[in-house]
C-alpha cells in the first residue's frame, strides 16, 4: 500500500510541477505569440492553471503526509544511522517549506482571481515564484531521499 501511495504521490507531484512551472513561466516570462516550443510553452493562459495547481498541491501534500510515518520509521532512521545528515536535512527543509506553501494557497488563489489586476501583480509574481521554487526543490529533494534508501530498500 505504501508503495502505491508513494507512486501516486510522485505522479501528483509531476502534474503539479508541470502545471505550476507552466503558470510561472507564462506569468514571469510571457510570450506575445506562440512560435517555437519555448514561446508556445509560455503563451498559455496562466490563470487557467490556478485551481488545478491548488488541487494537485493539496493532493500531493496529503499523500505525502500519509506516507510520512513509514518514511520516518524505515528510511530516516536508516539515514541517521548512516550519518547522512545532509540527506536528512534536505528532507527536513522540504517538509517545512511545503507546510508554509500549503498555507499560501488561499492567498495564491486570491491573487490569481483577477489576472488583469495590476494591484496584485507583484504579489502574484512572488507567490507563484515562491510556490514554484518550493515544489521544484521538494520534488528533487524527495527523489534524492527516496533514491538513497527507498521505502523497502535493503
Amino acid at each position: 500500500m505504501t508503495t502505491f501511495l508513494l507512486i501516486m504521490h510522485g505522479l501528483m507531484a509531476v502534474a503539479l510541477l508541470g502545471g505550476l512551472t507552466h503558470q510561472a513561466a507564462a506569468l514571469l516570462w510571457p510570450a506575445r505569440a506562440a512560435g517555437g516550443f519555448a514561446a508556445s510553452y509560455r503563451a498559455v493562459q496562466a490563470a487557467r492553471f490556478t485551481n488545478a495547481n491548488i488541487l494537485f498541491y493539496v493532493l500531493t501534500f496529503v499523500l505525502g503526509a500519509l506516507i510520512y510515518p513509514p518514511y520516518r520509521i524505515a528510511v530516516r532512521t536508516w539515514i541517521e544511522r548512516a550519518r547522512l545528515w545532509h540527506i536528512s536535512g534536505l528532507f527536513e527543509y522540504k517538509e517545512q517549506a511545503l507546510a508554509i506553501g500549503l498555507a499560501m494557497l488561499p492567498f495564491f488563489w486570491l491573487v490569481w482571481r483577477d489576472p488583469k489586476d495590476q494591484e496584485t501583480l507583484t504579489a502574484r509574481k512572488w507567490t507563484t515564484a515562491i510556490l514554484c521554487v518550493i515544489v521544484w526543490y521538494s520534488f528533487i529533494a524527495g527523489h534524492v531521499v527516496n533514491n538513497v534508501r527507498g521505502l523497502f530498500g535493503q
Binding site: 503526509a65 520516518r72 530516516r76 536535512g89 508554509i100 492567498f107 486570491l110 507567490t127
Partner: protein, 106 residues
C-alpha cells in the same frame, strides 16, 4: 467576499506560528508512528521515533485561523497589505534555512 481579505494574513500567521511551534515545541499533538498513537503536546519517545510535523501544522493552522477571525471585523474598513501573504512566508522559509544549517555543516 470579505473573508478573502484575510488570506494574506492566514499565510503570514501560519508561517510564523508553525516555525515557532516547531522551534519552541508548541505542537498541538505528537504522533508515534511505530505504535500508531497520538498524544497531546510534545511527547517523549515510546521506544521509537516521535513525529511533531502534523502537530506543528495543526498549531499553525489554529493560530492562523484565530488571527483571521480577530482581524475580520477590522479588514472591512482597512484592507491588509498584500505583501503580508508572500513576504512573511518567504522570510520564514529563509529562517528555516538558518535553523536547519546544522544538517549541512556537520
Amino acid at each position: 467576499m470579505i473573508v478573502t481579505r484575510v488570506f494574506g494574513l492566514f499565510a503570514a500567521v501560519f508561517a510564523i506560528a508553525y516555525t515557532i511551534a516547531f522551534e519552541w515545541h508548541w505542537e498541538l499533538f505528537s504522533y508515534h508512528p511505530r505504535t500508531g498513537e497520538f498524544g497531546w503536546g510534545q511527547q517523549p519517545s515510546k521506544g521509537g521515533p516521535v513525529m511533531h510535523w502534523y502537530g506543528a501544522i495543526a498549531t499553525g493552522f489554529l493560530a492562523a485561523l484565530a488571527a483571521c477571525l480577530i482581524a475580520l471585523p477590522f479588514v472591512r474598513k482597512r484592507p491588509l497589505p498584500l505583501w503580508l501573504g508572500w513576504v512573511v512566508p518567504l522570510a520564514c522559509i529563509a529562517v528555516w534555512g538558518w535553523l536547519l544549517r546544522g544538517f549541512f555543516l556537520r
